[in-house]
Protein backbone atom coordinates (compact mmCIF):
# COMPACT_ATOMS: atom_id res chain seq x y z
CA UNK A 1 0.00 0.00 0.00
CA UNK A 2 1.19 3.44 -0.82
CA UNK A 3 1.19 5.97 1.98
CA UNK A 4 -1.46 8.54 1.34
CA UNK A 5 0.52 11.56 2.42
CA UNK A 6 3.49 11.38 0.09
CA UNK A 7 2.09 11.84 -3.39
CA UNK A 8 -0.13 14.70 -2.32
CA UNK A 9 2.88 16.54 -0.87
CA UNK A 10 4.59 16.23 -4.23
CA UNK A 11 1.44 17.40 -5.94
CA UNK A 12 1.12 20.43 -3.66
CA UNK A 13 4.76 21.33 -4.29
CA UNK A 14 4.19 20.94 -8.05
CA UNK A 15 1.08 23.06 -7.85
CA UNK A 16 2.85 25.83 -5.96
CA UNK A 17 5.80 25.70 -8.35
CA UNK A 18 3.46 25.94 -11.33
CA UNK A 19 1.59 28.88 -9.83
CA UNK A 20 4.86 30.66 -9.07
CA UNK A 21 6.05 29.86 -12.58
CA UNK A 22 2.85 31.19 -14.11
CA UNK A 23 3.10 34.30 -11.97
CA UNK A 24 6.68 34.92 -13.03
CA UNK A 25 5.75 34.25 -16.64
CA UNK A 26 2.88 36.71 -16.55
CA UNK A 27 5.21 39.33 -15.06
CA UNK A 28 8.31 38.95 -17.21
CA UNK A 29 7.40 37.35 -20.56
CA UNK A 30 6.14 39.19 -23.59
CA UNK A 31 2.50 38.93 -24.61
CA UNK A 32 3.18 36.36 -27.36
CA UNK A 33 4.74 33.91 -24.95
CA UNK A 34 2.05 34.51 -22.38
CA UNK A 35 -0.51 33.73 -25.05
CA UNK A 36 1.17 30.40 -25.77
CA UNK A 37 1.16 29.53 -22.08
CA UNK A 38 -2.51 30.47 -21.89
CA UNK A 39 -3.22 28.30 -24.90
CA UNK A 40 -1.36 25.40 -23.25
CA UNK A 41 -3.73 25.64 -20.31
CA UNK A 42 -6.71 25.35 -22.62
CA UNK A 43 -5.17 22.34 -24.34
CA UNK A 44 -4.56 20.69 -20.98
CA UNK A 45 -8.30 20.87 -20.33
CA UNK A 46 -9.05 19.64 -23.84
CA UNK A 47 -6.59 16.79 -23.63
CA UNK A 48 -7.94 15.65 -20.27
CA UNK A 49 -11.54 15.82 -21.40
CA UNK A 50 -10.79 13.66 -24.42
CA UNK A 51 -8.70 11.33 -22.32
CA UNK A 52 -11.67 10.73 -20.03
CA UNK A 53 -13.71 9.48 -22.98
CA UNK A 54 -11.06 7.83 -25.14
CA UNK A 55 -8.43 6.93 -22.60
CA UNK A 56 -10.18 5.99 -19.40
CA UNK A 57 -13.44 4.62 -20.71
CA UNK A 58 -11.93 3.24 -23.91
CA UNK A 59 -14.53 4.67 -26.25
CA UNK A 60 -13.33 6.24 -29.44
CA UNK A 61 -14.93 9.63 -29.91
CA UNK A 62 -13.92 12.13 -32.56
CA UNK A 63 -16.58 14.68 -31.71
CA UNK A 64 -14.49 17.07 -29.68
CA UNK A 65 -14.47 19.93 -32.17
CA UNK A 66 -18.26 19.93 -32.14
CA UNK A 67 -18.52 20.25 -28.38
CA UNK A 68 -15.88 22.96 -28.40
CA UNK A 69 -17.91 24.83 -31.01
CA UNK A 70 -20.97 24.64 -28.79
CA UNK A 71 -19.00 26.00 -25.84
CA UNK A 72 -17.27 28.69 -27.87
CA UNK A 73 -20.53 29.97 -29.32
CA UNK A 74 -22.26 29.90 -25.95
CA UNK A 75 -19.57 32.06 -24.41
CA UNK A 76 -19.38 34.28 -27.48
CA UNK A 77 -23.09 34.99 -27.57
CA UNK A 78 -23.54 35.34 -23.83
CA UNK A 79 -20.61 37.62 -23.07
CA UNK A 80 -20.66 39.84 -26.12
CA UNK A 81 -21.74 43.43 -25.35
CA UNK A 82 -25.19 44.35 -26.65
CA UNK A 83 -23.91 47.04 -29.01
CA UNK A 84 -21.37 44.59 -30.45
CA UNK A 85 -24.14 42.11 -31.13
CA UNK A 86 -25.95 44.65 -33.26
CA UNK A 87 -22.79 45.22 -35.27
CA UNK A 88 -22.17 41.50 -35.71
CA UNK A 89 -25.66 40.51 -36.73
CA UNK A 90 -26.13 42.86 -39.64
CA UNK A 91 -27.34 40.19 -42.05
CA UNK A 92 -30.14 39.06 -39.84
CA UNK A 93 -30.89 40.26 -36.30
CA UNK A 94 -30.12 37.92 -33.46
CA UNK A 95 -33.01 36.01 -31.88
CA UNK A 96 -34.71 38.43 -29.48
CA UNK A 97 -34.24 36.39 -26.32
CA UNK A 98 -30.44 36.62 -26.69
CA UNK A 99 -30.22 40.17 -27.96
CA UNK A 100 -30.11 41.83 -24.56
CA UNK A 101 -28.04 39.45 -22.50
CA UNK A 102 -24.55 40.22 -21.34
CA UNK A 103 -23.24 37.77 -18.82
CA UNK A 104 -20.07 37.68 -16.77
CA UNK A 105 -17.32 35.30 -17.85
CA UNK A 106 -17.69 32.67 -15.12
CA UNK A 107 -21.43 32.10 -15.55
CA UNK A 108 -20.94 32.09 -19.33
CA UNK A 109 -18.18 29.47 -19.05
CA UNK A 110 -20.37 27.33 -16.83
CA UNK A 111 -23.21 27.71 -19.29
CA UNK A 112 -20.85 26.69 -22.09
CA UNK A 113 -19.94 23.54 -20.20
CA UNK A 114 -23.53 22.74 -19.34
CA UNK A 115 -24.83 23.24 -22.88
CA UNK A 116 -21.99 21.13 -24.31
CA UNK A 117 -22.47 18.51 -21.62
CA UNK A 118 -26.19 18.36 -22.36
CA UNK A 119 -25.44 18.01 -26.04
CA UNK A 120 -23.02 15.22 -25.15
CA UNK A 121 -25.73 13.54 -23.12
CA UNK A 122 -28.32 13.82 -25.88
CA UNK A 123 -25.89 12.63 -28.54
CA UNK A 124 -24.29 10.01 -26.37
CA UNK A 125 -27.49 8.32 -25.26
CA UNK A 126 -28.30 6.92 -28.69
CA UNK A 127 -24.81 6.62 -30.16
CA UNK A 128 -22.82 5.05 -27.37
CA UNK A 129 -24.31 1.65 -28.06
CA UNK A 130 -21.98 1.50 -31.04
CA UNK A 131 -18.49 0.06 -30.82
CA UNK A 132 -15.10 1.62 -31.62
CA UNK A 133 -15.02 2.52 -35.25
CA UNK A 134 -18.73 3.08 -35.66
CA UNK A 135 -18.66 5.33 -32.64
CA UNK A 136 -15.72 7.22 -34.09
CA UNK A 137 -17.48 7.88 -37.34
CA UNK A 138 -20.82 8.72 -35.69
CA UNK A 139 -19.26 11.25 -33.31
CA UNK A 140 -17.25 12.71 -36.15
CA UNK A 141 -20.54 12.99 -37.99
CA UNK A 142 -22.12 14.84 -35.10
CA UNK A 143 -19.27 17.31 -34.98
CA UNK A 144 -19.77 17.94 -38.70
CA UNK A 145 -23.53 18.32 -38.26
CA UNK A 146 -22.98 20.88 -35.51
CA UNK A 147 -20.62 22.80 -37.78
CA UNK A 148 -23.07 22.76 -40.67
CA UNK A 149 -25.94 23.80 -38.41
CA UNK A 150 -23.91 26.67 -36.99
CA UNK A 151 -23.06 27.80 -40.51
CA UNK A 152 -26.74 27.98 -41.37
CA UNK A 153 -28.41 29.35 -38.26
CA UNK A 154 -27.85 32.97 -39.18
CA UNK A 155 -29.94 34.53 -36.43
CA UNK A 156 -28.35 32.45 -33.69
CA UNK A 157 -24.69 32.10 -34.61
CA UNK A 158 -24.34 34.68 -37.38
CA UNK A 159 -23.66 31.84 -39.82
CA UNK A 160 -20.47 31.66 -41.80
CA UNK A 161 -19.54 35.23 -40.84
CA UNK A 162 -18.78 34.09 -37.33
CA UNK A 163 -18.67 36.25 -34.24
CA UNK A 164 -16.24 39.10 -33.85
CA UNK A 165 -15.45 41.22 -30.83
CA UNK A 166 -15.94 38.65 -28.09
CA UNK A 167 -14.49 40.24 -24.93
CA UNK A 168 -11.00 38.89 -24.24
CA UNK A 169 -11.59 37.60 -20.75
CA UNK A 170 -9.29 34.61 -21.03
CA UNK A 171 -5.90 35.15 -19.47
CA UNK A 172 -3.24 32.91 -18.04
CA UNK A 173 -5.12 32.55 -14.73
CA UNK A 174 -8.45 31.66 -16.25
CA UNK A 175 -7.00 29.04 -18.56
CA UNK A 176 -4.75 27.44 -15.96
CA UNK A 177 -7.37 27.84 -13.25
CA UNK A 178 -9.76 25.79 -15.34
CA UNK A 179 -6.94 23.35 -16.17
CA UNK A 180 -6.26 22.78 -12.46
CA UNK A 181 -9.94 22.28 -11.73
CA UNK A 182 -10.06 19.74 -14.58
CA UNK A 183 -6.98 17.90 -13.33
CA UNK A 184 -8.43 17.76 -9.84
CA UNK A 185 -11.80 16.61 -11.11
CA UNK A 186 -10.33 13.87 -13.30
CA UNK A 187 -8.10 12.60 -10.50
CA UNK A 188 -11.06 12.64 -8.14
CA UNK A 189 -13.32 10.86 -10.62
CA UNK A 190 -10.81 8.20 -11.55
CA UNK A 191 -9.97 7.36 -7.96
CA UNK A 192 -13.59 6.85 -7.06
CA UNK A 193 -15.93 4.01 -7.89
CA UNK A 194 -16.90 5.65 -11.18
CA UNK A 195 -13.30 5.63 -12.30
CA UNK A 196 -13.01 1.93 -11.45
CA UNK A 197 -16.11 1.28 -13.50
CA UNK A 198 -14.71 3.29 -16.45
CA UNK A 199 -11.48 1.31 -16.38
CA UNK A 200 -13.37 -1.95 -16.15
CA UNK A 201 -15.41 -0.98 -19.21
CA UNK A 202 -12.23 -0.18 -21.08
CA UNK A 203 -10.58 -3.46 -20.20
CA UNK A 204 -13.48 -5.71 -21.05
CA UNK A 205 -17.04 -4.64 -21.62
CA UNK A 206 -18.54 -8.07 -21.29
CA UNK A 207 -16.71 -8.81 -18.06
CA UNK A 208 -17.62 -5.38 -16.69
CA UNK A 209 -21.26 -5.99 -17.47
CA UNK A 210 -21.30 -9.33 -15.80
CA UNK A 211 -19.82 -7.73 -12.69
CA UNK A 212 -22.93 -5.61 -12.50
CA UNK A 213 -21.58 -2.40 -13.99
CA UNK A 214 -24.24 -0.46 -15.84
CA UNK A 215 -22.40 0.03 -19.14
CA UNK A 216 -24.81 2.52 -20.61
CA UNK A 217 -24.96 4.76 -17.56
CA UNK A 218 -21.20 4.93 -17.16
CA UNK A 219 -20.50 5.47 -20.83
CA UNK A 220 -23.02 8.30 -21.10
CA UNK A 221 -21.64 9.81 -17.91
CA UNK A 222 -18.06 9.73 -19.09
CA UNK A 223 -19.11 11.15 -22.45
CA UNK A 224 -21.17 13.97 -20.88
CA UNK A 225 -18.38 14.96 -18.48
CA UNK A 226 -15.89 14.95 -21.32
CA UNK A 227 -18.21 17.11 -23.42
CA UNK A 228 -18.70 19.47 -20.48
CA UNK A 229 -14.99 20.18 -20.21
CA UNK A 230 -14.61 20.38 -23.99
CA UNK A 231 -17.33 23.02 -23.95
CA UNK A 232 -15.63 25.00 -21.19
CA UNK A 233 -12.32 24.83 -23.07
CA UNK A 234 -14.10 25.95 -26.24
CA UNK A 235 -15.46 28.91 -24.30
CA UNK A 236 -12.00 29.80 -23.04
CA UNK A 237 -10.68 29.60 -26.58
CA UNK A 238 -13.42 31.90 -27.87
CA UNK A 239 -12.63 34.49 -25.22
CA UNK A 240 -8.92 34.17 -25.95
CA UNK A 241 -9.22 34.64 -29.70
CA UNK A 242 -12.07 37.14 -29.69
CA UNK A 243 -13.20 35.90 -33.10
CA UNK A 244 -14.79 32.58 -33.95
CA UNK A 245 -16.41 31.05 -37.01
CA UNK A 246 -17.79 27.59 -37.74
CA UNK A 247 -14.84 26.58 -39.92
CA UNK A 248 -12.46 26.78 -36.97
CA UNK A 249 -14.10 23.69 -35.56
CA UNK A 250 -13.12 21.19 -38.20
CA UNK A 251 -11.72 17.76 -37.57
CA UNK A 252 -8.20 19.23 -37.60
CA UNK A 253 -8.89 20.57 -34.14
CA UNK A 254 -9.92 17.14 -32.91
CA UNK A 255 -6.76 15.76 -34.48
CA UNK A 256 -4.58 18.08 -32.39
CA UNK A 257 -6.27 16.92 -29.23
CA UNK A 258 -6.00 13.29 -30.26
CA UNK A 259 -2.29 13.84 -30.78
CA UNK A 260 -1.98 15.19 -27.24
CA UNK A 261 -3.88 12.26 -25.79
CA UNK A 262 -1.89 9.65 -27.71
CA UNK A 263 1.45 11.24 -26.89
CA UNK A 264 0.53 11.62 -23.23
CA UNK A 265 -0.73 8.09 -23.01
CA UNK A 266 -4.35 7.01 -23.14
CA UNK A 267 -5.59 7.06 -19.59
CA UNK A 268 -2.70 9.00 -18.12
CA UNK A 269 -3.49 12.33 -16.45
CA UNK A 270 0.06 13.52 -15.79
CA UNK A 271 1.21 12.50 -19.25
CA UNK A 272 -1.66 14.35 -20.87
CA UNK A 273 -0.82 17.55 -19.01
CA UNK A 274 2.81 17.39 -20.06
CA UNK A 275 2.05 16.47 -23.66
CA UNK A 276 -0.59 19.23 -23.93
CA UNK A 277 2.02 21.81 -22.99
CA UNK A 278 4.70 20.24 -25.19
CA UNK A 279 2.41 19.97 -28.24
CA UNK A 280 1.12 23.52 -27.88
CA UNK A 281 4.61 24.93 -27.55
CA UNK A 282 5.85 22.81 -30.48
CA UNK A 283 2.93 23.92 -32.62
CA UNK A 284 4.20 27.45 -32.16
CA UNK A 285 7.89 26.65 -32.23
CA UNK A 286 7.58 24.75 -35.50
CA UNK A 287 5.69 27.58 -37.11
CA UNK A 288 8.90 28.41 -38.95
CA UNK A 289 8.34 25.26 -41.02
CA UNK A 290 5.26 26.79 -42.54
CA UNK A 291 7.05 29.98 -43.39
CA UNK A 292 10.21 28.23 -44.53
CA UNK A 293 11.51 30.26 -47.42
CA UNK A 294 13.87 28.27 -49.55
CA UNK A 295 15.39 24.87 -49.10
CA UNK A 296 17.33 25.10 -52.32
CA UNK A 297 15.46 22.36 -54.10
CA UNK A 298 11.95 23.19 -53.07
CA UNK A 299 10.18 26.45 -52.47
CA UNK A 300 7.74 26.57 -49.62
CA UNK A 301 6.69 30.07 -49.00
CA UNK A 302 4.17 30.47 -46.24
CA UNK A 303 2.64 27.08 -46.89
CA UNK A 304 0.66 25.87 -43.94
CA UNK A 305 1.26 22.17 -44.16
CA UNK A 306 4.82 21.25 -43.30
CA UNK A 307 4.11 21.68 -39.62
CA UNK A 308 1.17 19.32 -39.74
CA UNK A 309 3.17 16.86 -41.84
CA UNK A 310 5.66 16.71 -38.99
CA UNK A 311 2.91 16.30 -36.42
CA UNK A 312 1.09 13.59 -38.27
CA UNK A 313 4.37 11.75 -38.73
CA UNK A 314 4.97 11.99 -35.00
CA UNK A 315 1.50 10.57 -34.37
CA UNK A 316 2.04 7.61 -36.69
CA UNK A 317 5.51 6.94 -35.29
CA UNK A 318 4.27 7.02 -31.71
CA UNK A 319 1.49 4.60 -32.55
CA UNK A 320 3.87 2.31 -34.43
CA UNK A 321 6.46 2.30 -31.67
CA UNK A 322 4.16 2.11 -28.69
CA UNK A 323 1.85 -0.41 -30.32
CA UNK A 324 0.80 -2.64 -27.45
CA UNK A 325 1.44 0.14 -24.98
CA UNK A 326 -1.67 1.87 -26.17
CA UNK A 327 -4.59 0.40 -24.32
CA UNK A 328 -7.52 -0.79 -26.33
CA UNK A 329 -10.17 -3.37 -26.29
CA UNK A 330 -10.80 -5.92 -28.97
CA UNK A 331 -7.74 -7.93 -29.69
CA UNK A 332 -7.73 -10.67 -32.22
CA UNK A 333 -7.51 -13.92 -30.36
Amino acid sequence: MKSKGKPSVILVVLLILTIVGLFLASKFLDSYKIRIITLSGIYVTLGLSMNLINGFTGMFSLGHAGFMAIGAYTVGILTMPISMKEMNFFMQPIVPCLANVEWGFLPALLAAGIVAGLAGFLIGAPVLRLTDDYLAIATLGFAEIIRVVFTNTQSLTNGALGLKGIPNYTNIWWSWGVAFVTIWFMAFLIRGSYGKAFLAIKEDEVAARSMGINLFKHKVMSFSFGSFFAGVAGGLLAALLGTIDPNMFRITLTFNILLIVVLGGLGNIGGTVVSAVVVTVMMEALRFLDESINLGFIQLKGIPGMRMVVFSMILILVVLIKREGLPGKTKRV
Binding site: D133, I137, G141, I145, V206, I316, L320, G328
Partner: protein, 298 residues
Protein backbone atom coordinates in the same frame (compact mmCIF):
# COMPACT_ATOMS: atom_id res chain seq x y z
CA UNK B 1 -42.62 19.29 -69.71
CA UNK B 2 -40.28 21.76 -68.14
CA UNK B 3 -40.65 20.05 -64.81
CA UNK B 4 -39.83 16.72 -66.36
CA UNK B 5 -36.63 17.90 -67.99
CA UNK B 6 -35.48 19.45 -64.75
CA UNK B 7 -36.25 16.25 -62.90
CA UNK B 8 -34.32 14.32 -65.51
CA UNK B 9 -31.37 16.64 -65.04
CA UNK B 10 -31.43 16.11 -61.29
CA UNK B 11 -31.65 12.37 -61.77
CA UNK B 12 -28.64 12.40 -64.08
CA UNK B 13 -26.69 14.48 -61.55
CA UNK B 14 -27.72 12.22 -58.72
CA UNK B 15 -26.75 9.08 -60.59
CA UNK B 16 -23.32 10.35 -61.52
CA UNK B 17 -22.64 11.60 -57.99
CA UNK B 18 -23.90 8.28 -56.67
CA UNK B 19 -21.58 6.37 -59.01
CA UNK B 20 -18.61 8.33 -57.68
CA UNK B 21 -19.56 7.65 -54.08
CA UNK B 22 -20.00 4.00 -54.99
CA UNK B 23 -16.53 3.73 -56.53
CA UNK B 24 -14.87 5.25 -53.48
CA UNK B 25 -17.07 3.29 -51.09
CA UNK B 26 -15.90 -0.02 -52.57
CA UNK B 27 -12.37 0.68 -51.30
CA UNK B 28 -13.64 1.28 -47.78
CA UNK B 29 -15.84 -1.74 -47.77
CA UNK B 30 -13.21 -4.16 -49.12
CA UNK B 31 -10.62 -3.05 -46.57
CA UNK B 32 -13.15 -3.12 -43.77
CA UNK B 33 -14.33 -6.54 -44.80
CA UNK B 34 -10.87 -8.03 -44.37
CA UNK B 35 -9.13 -5.93 -41.74
CA UNK B 36 -12.10 -4.44 -39.84
CA UNK B 37 -10.42 -1.07 -40.27
CA UNK B 38 -11.85 2.25 -41.36
CA UNK B 39 -9.16 3.38 -43.74
CA UNK B 40 -9.44 7.06 -42.90
CA UNK B 41 -6.78 7.86 -45.48
CA UNK B 42 -8.86 6.48 -48.35
CA UNK B 43 -10.33 9.90 -49.15
CA UNK B 44 -6.82 11.30 -49.36
CA UNK B 45 -5.72 8.49 -51.66
CA UNK B 46 -8.60 9.62 -53.86
CA UNK B 47 -7.18 13.16 -53.73
CA UNK B 48 -3.71 11.91 -54.68
CA UNK B 49 -5.23 10.12 -57.67
CA UNK B 50 -6.72 13.36 -58.94
CA UNK B 51 -3.49 15.29 -58.49
CA UNK B 52 -1.37 12.61 -60.16
CA UNK B 53 -3.70 12.78 -63.14
CA UNK B 54 -3.50 16.56 -63.11
CA UNK B 55 0.29 16.54 -63.24
CA UNK B 56 0.32 13.68 -65.72
CA UNK B 57 -1.81 15.58 -68.21
CA UNK B 58 -0.21 18.99 -67.80
CA UNK B 59 3.46 18.16 -67.31
CA UNK B 60 4.12 14.98 -69.26
CA UNK B 61 3.78 14.33 -72.98
CA UNK B 62 1.68 11.24 -72.28
CA UNK B 63 -1.75 11.41 -73.95
CA UNK B 64 -4.60 11.99 -71.56
CA UNK B 65 -6.31 8.64 -72.05
CA UNK B 66 -3.10 6.86 -71.14
CA UNK B 67 -2.71 9.08 -68.08
CA UNK B 68 -6.21 8.01 -67.09
CA UNK B 69 -4.87 4.44 -66.94
CA UNK B 70 -1.44 5.10 -65.47
CA UNK B 71 -2.52 7.47 -62.70
CA UNK B 72 -4.89 5.00 -61.00
CA UNK B 73 -2.17 2.34 -61.19
CA UNK B 74 0.31 4.63 -59.45
CA UNK B 75 -2.35 5.53 -56.90
CA UNK B 76 -3.00 1.85 -56.36
CA UNK B 77 0.65 1.33 -55.49
CA UNK B 78 0.55 4.29 -53.10
CA UNK B 79 -2.41 2.68 -51.36
CA UNK B 80 -0.49 -0.57 -51.14
CA UNK B 81 2.51 1.25 -49.70
CA UNK B 82 0.33 3.03 -47.17
CA UNK B 83 -0.86 -0.31 -45.86
CA UNK B 84 2.69 -1.64 -45.61
CA UNK B 85 3.91 1.37 -43.63
CA UNK B 86 1.03 2.48 -41.44
CA UNK B 87 -1.22 -0.54 -40.99
CA UNK B 88 0.74 -3.74 -41.43
CA UNK B 89 2.92 -3.37 -38.31
CA UNK B 90 -0.25 -2.87 -36.29
CA UNK B 91 -2.20 -5.83 -37.56
CA UNK B 92 -2.15 -7.59 -34.20
CA UNK B 93 -2.60 -4.40 -32.18
CA UNK B 94 -5.90 -3.26 -30.65
CA UNK B 95 -8.33 -1.77 -33.12
CA UNK B 96 -8.19 1.70 -31.61
CA UNK B 97 -4.46 1.82 -32.22
CA UNK B 98 -4.71 1.09 -35.90
CA UNK B 99 -7.57 3.57 -36.19
CA UNK B 100 -5.35 6.29 -34.73
CA UNK B 101 -2.65 5.34 -37.21
CA UNK B 102 -5.20 5.67 -40.01
CA UNK B 103 -6.21 9.13 -38.84
CA UNK B 104 -2.55 10.09 -38.66
CA UNK B 105 -1.98 8.77 -42.18
CA UNK B 106 -4.94 10.78 -43.45
CA UNK B 107 -3.56 14.01 -42.01
CA UNK B 108 -0.13 13.18 -43.25
CA UNK B 109 -1.33 12.78 -46.84
CA UNK B 110 -3.47 15.91 -46.71
CA UNK B 111 -0.69 18.08 -45.44
CA UNK B 112 1.86 16.48 -47.70
CA UNK B 113 -0.56 17.44 -50.46
CA UNK B 114 -0.57 21.03 -49.26
CA UNK B 115 3.22 21.06 -49.14
CA UNK B 116 3.77 19.48 -52.56
CA UNK B 117 0.79 20.73 -54.55
CA UNK B 118 0.23 24.02 -52.75
CA UNK B 119 -2.89 25.09 -50.94
CA UNK B 120 -4.22 27.11 -53.85
CA UNK B 121 -7.11 25.48 -55.75
CA UNK B 122 -6.19 24.22 -59.23
CA UNK B 123 -8.37 23.67 -62.27
CA UNK B 124 -8.58 20.10 -63.51
CA UNK B 125 -7.71 19.89 -67.23
CA UNK B 126 -10.79 18.18 -68.60
CA UNK B 127 -10.12 16.72 -72.08
CA UNK B 128 -12.31 18.48 -74.63
CA UNK B 129 -14.03 15.29 -75.71
CA UNK B 130 -15.42 14.84 -72.25
CA UNK B 131 -16.27 18.45 -71.75
CA UNK B 132 -19.18 18.69 -74.15
CA UNK B 133 -22.79 19.41 -73.52
CA UNK B 134 -25.29 17.45 -75.55
CA UNK B 135 -28.96 18.14 -76.00
CA UNK B 136 -31.32 15.30 -75.34
CA UNK B 137 -34.95 16.16 -75.95
CA UNK B 138 -34.66 19.66 -74.56
CA UNK B 139 -32.40 18.61 -71.70
CA UNK B 140 -28.80 19.67 -71.95
CA UNK B 141 -26.47 17.29 -70.19
CA UNK B 142 -22.72 17.11 -69.90
CA UNK B 143 -21.21 14.05 -71.56
CA UNK B 144 -19.42 13.27 -68.31
CA UNK B 145 -22.75 12.65 -66.64
CA UNK B 146 -23.15 9.68 -68.99
CA UNK B 147 -19.59 8.49 -68.90
CA UNK B 148 -19.42 8.30 -65.13
CA UNK B 149 -22.20 5.73 -64.63
CA UNK B 150 -21.00 3.76 -67.67
CA UNK B 151 -17.43 3.48 -66.43
CA UNK B 152 -18.70 2.66 -62.97
CA UNK B 153 -20.87 -0.17 -64.24
CA UNK B 154 -18.03 -1.58 -66.32
CA UNK B 155 -15.65 -1.50 -63.38
CA UNK B 156 -18.25 -3.10 -61.15
CA UNK B 157 -18.79 -5.95 -63.58
CA UNK B 158 -15.02 -6.47 -63.75
CA UNK B 159 -14.66 -6.37 -59.99
CA UNK B 160 -17.56 -8.73 -59.54
CA UNK B 161 -15.93 -11.21 -61.90
CA UNK B 162 -12.61 -10.85 -60.12
CA UNK B 163 -14.05 -11.44 -56.67
CA UNK B 164 -16.43 -14.24 -57.52
CA UNK B 165 -14.63 -16.11 -60.26
CA UNK B 166 -10.88 -15.93 -59.62
CA UNK B 167 -8.79 -17.69 -57.05
CA UNK B 168 -7.52 -14.43 -55.57
CA UNK B 169 -11.07 -13.21 -55.29
CA UNK B 170 -12.01 -16.38 -53.48
CA UNK B 171 -9.13 -15.85 -51.06
CA UNK B 172 -10.38 -12.32 -50.40
CA UNK B 173 -13.85 -13.58 -49.64
CA UNK B 174 -12.45 -16.25 -47.37
CA UNK B 175 -10.40 -13.71 -45.43
CA UNK B 176 -13.39 -11.46 -45.03
CA UNK B 177 -15.51 -14.33 -43.81
CA UNK B 178 -13.11 -15.66 -41.24
CA UNK B 179 -9.65 -14.16 -41.00
CA UNK B 180 -8.07 -16.74 -38.69
CA UNK B 181 -9.34 -19.84 -40.38
CA UNK B 182 -8.53 -18.52 -43.83
CA UNK B 183 -4.97 -17.65 -42.84
CA UNK B 184 -4.56 -21.17 -41.50
CA UNK B 185 -5.63 -22.57 -44.86
CA UNK B 186 -2.48 -21.43 -46.58
CA UNK B 187 -3.76 -18.15 -47.96
CA UNK B 188 -0.99 -15.59 -48.34
CA UNK B 189 -2.60 -12.97 -46.14
CA UNK B 190 -0.10 -10.22 -46.91
CA UNK B 191 -0.50 -10.65 -50.63
CA UNK B 192 -4.28 -10.60 -50.50
CA UNK B 193 -4.33 -7.52 -48.30
CA UNK B 194 -1.93 -5.76 -50.67
CA UNK B 195 -4.17 -6.62 -53.60
CA UNK B 196 -7.18 -5.33 -51.69
CA UNK B 197 -5.52 -2.02 -51.01
CA UNK B 198 -4.31 -1.77 -54.59
CA UNK B 199 -7.78 -2.40 -55.99
CA UNK B 200 -9.49 -0.05 -53.55
CA UNK B 201 -7.04 2.76 -54.28
CA UNK B 202 -7.23 2.12 -58.01
CA UNK B 203 -11.00 2.47 -57.99
CA UNK B 204 -10.79 5.55 -55.79
CA UNK B 205 -8.41 7.14 -58.28
CA UNK B 206 -10.72 6.34 -61.20
CA UNK B 207 -13.52 7.89 -59.17
CA UNK B 208 -11.21 10.84 -58.52
CA UNK B 209 -10.50 11.43 -62.20
CA UNK B 210 -14.20 11.43 -62.99
CA UNK B 211 -14.83 13.64 -59.98
CA UNK B 212 -12.28 16.06 -61.40
CA UNK B 213 -14.03 16.01 -64.76
CA UNK B 214 -17.33 16.73 -63.05
CA UNK B 215 -16.21 19.25 -60.41
CA UNK B 216 -12.94 20.54 -61.84
CA UNK B 217 -11.51 22.21 -58.77
CA UNK B 218 -8.55 20.55 -57.09
CA UNK B 219 -7.56 21.11 -53.48
CA UNK B 220 -5.40 19.00 -51.17
CA UNK B 221 -8.31 18.75 -48.75
CA UNK B 222 -10.78 17.78 -51.44
CA UNK B 223 -10.72 14.12 -50.40
CA UNK B 224 -12.06 14.59 -46.89
CA UNK B 225 -15.74 15.12 -47.61
CA UNK B 226 -16.14 12.63 -50.48
CA UNK B 227 -14.15 10.19 -48.37
CA UNK B 228 -16.35 10.52 -45.32
CA UNK B 229 -19.51 10.43 -47.38
CA UNK B 230 -18.41 7.35 -49.29
CA UNK B 231 -17.65 5.66 -46.03
CA UNK B 232 -21.16 6.52 -44.93
CA UNK B 233 -22.40 5.04 -48.20
CA UNK B 234 -20.55 1.84 -47.36
CA UNK B 235 -22.14 1.74 -43.91
CA UNK B 236 -25.61 2.40 -45.30
CA UNK B 237 -25.25 -0.46 -47.73
CA UNK B 238 -23.77 -2.77 -45.13
CA UNK B 239 -20.04 -2.51 -44.62
CA UNK B 240 -18.02 -5.39 -46.01
CA UNK B 241 -20.54 -5.92 -48.78
CA UNK B 242 -19.62 -4.63 -52.24
CA UNK B 243 -23.13 -4.61 -53.67
CA UNK B 244 -24.19 -2.81 -50.54
CA UNK B 245 -21.53 -0.15 -51.06
CA UNK B 246 -22.86 0.52 -54.55
CA UNK B 247 -26.45 0.71 -53.36
CA UNK B 248 -25.40 2.99 -50.50
CA UNK B 249 -23.50 5.22 -52.90
CA UNK B 250 -26.53 5.66 -55.12
CA UNK B 251 -28.86 6.28 -52.19
CA UNK B 252 -26.51 8.95 -50.88
CA UNK B 253 -25.82 10.61 -54.24
CA UNK B 254 -29.44 10.71 -55.32
CA UNK B 255 -30.56 11.71 -51.84
CA UNK B 256 -28.20 14.66 -51.68
CA UNK B 257 -29.11 15.98 -55.11
CA UNK B 258 -32.83 15.46 -54.52
CA UNK B 259 -32.68 17.16 -51.14
CA UNK B 260 -31.27 20.28 -52.72
CA UNK B 261 -33.63 20.02 -55.71
CA UNK B 262 -36.84 19.47 -53.80
CA UNK B 263 -36.14 21.49 -50.69
CA UNK B 264 -33.97 24.42 -51.81
CA UNK B 265 -34.24 25.96 -48.36
CA UNK B 266 -32.13 23.15 -46.96
CA UNK B 267 -29.31 23.66 -49.48
CA UNK B 268 -26.95 24.80 -46.74
CA UNK B 269 -27.54 21.58 -44.85
CA UNK B 270 -26.46 19.40 -47.77
CA UNK B 271 -23.25 18.28 -46.11
CA UNK B 272 -25.13 17.29 -42.97
CA UNK B 273 -27.54 15.05 -44.89
CA UNK B 274 -25.11 12.16 -45.17
CA UNK B 275 -24.29 12.25 -41.48
CA UNK B 276 -27.92 12.38 -40.43
CA UNK B 277 -28.57 9.39 -42.67
CA UNK B 278 -25.59 7.61 -41.11
CA UNK B 279 -26.83 8.10 -37.59
CA UNK B 280 -30.33 6.95 -38.49
CA UNK B 281 -28.95 3.82 -40.13
CA UNK B 282 -26.65 3.10 -37.20
CA UNK B 283 -29.54 3.34 -34.80
CA UNK B 284 -32.09 1.46 -36.85
CA UNK B 285 -30.05 -1.18 -38.63
CA UNK B 286 -26.35 -0.93 -37.78
CA UNK B 287 -25.48 -3.76 -40.14
CA UNK B 288 -26.74 -1.74 -43.11
CA UNK B 289 -29.09 -2.70 -45.90
CA UNK B 290 -27.19 -5.70 -47.23
CA UNK B 291 -25.05 -6.47 -44.21
CA UNK B 292 -24.97 -9.64 -42.20
CA UNK B 293 -26.01 -9.53 -38.62
CA UNK B 294 -23.04 -8.51 -36.48
CA UNK B 295 -22.50 -10.85 -33.59
CA UNK B 296 -20.55 -9.79 -30.57
CA UNK B 297 -17.61 -12.09 -30.05
CA UNK B 298 -16.47 -12.68 -26.52
Amino acid sequence: MGDFSILFQHLANGISLGSLYALIAIGYTMVYGILRLINFAHGDIFMLGVYITFYGILYTPIPWWLVFLIAPTITGFIGLLLEKIAYKPLREAPRTTILISAIGASFFLQNLGIVIFGGRPRAFPVPRILNRVIKLGGVSINVVAFIIPTVTVLLLVGLNYFINKTKTGMAMRALAKDYETASLMGIDVNKIISITFFLGSFLAAVGGIMWGARYPQLMPLMGTMPGLKSFIAAVIGGIGNITGAVIGGFILGLGEIMLVALLPRLTGYRDAFAFVLLIIILLVKPSGIMGDKITEKV
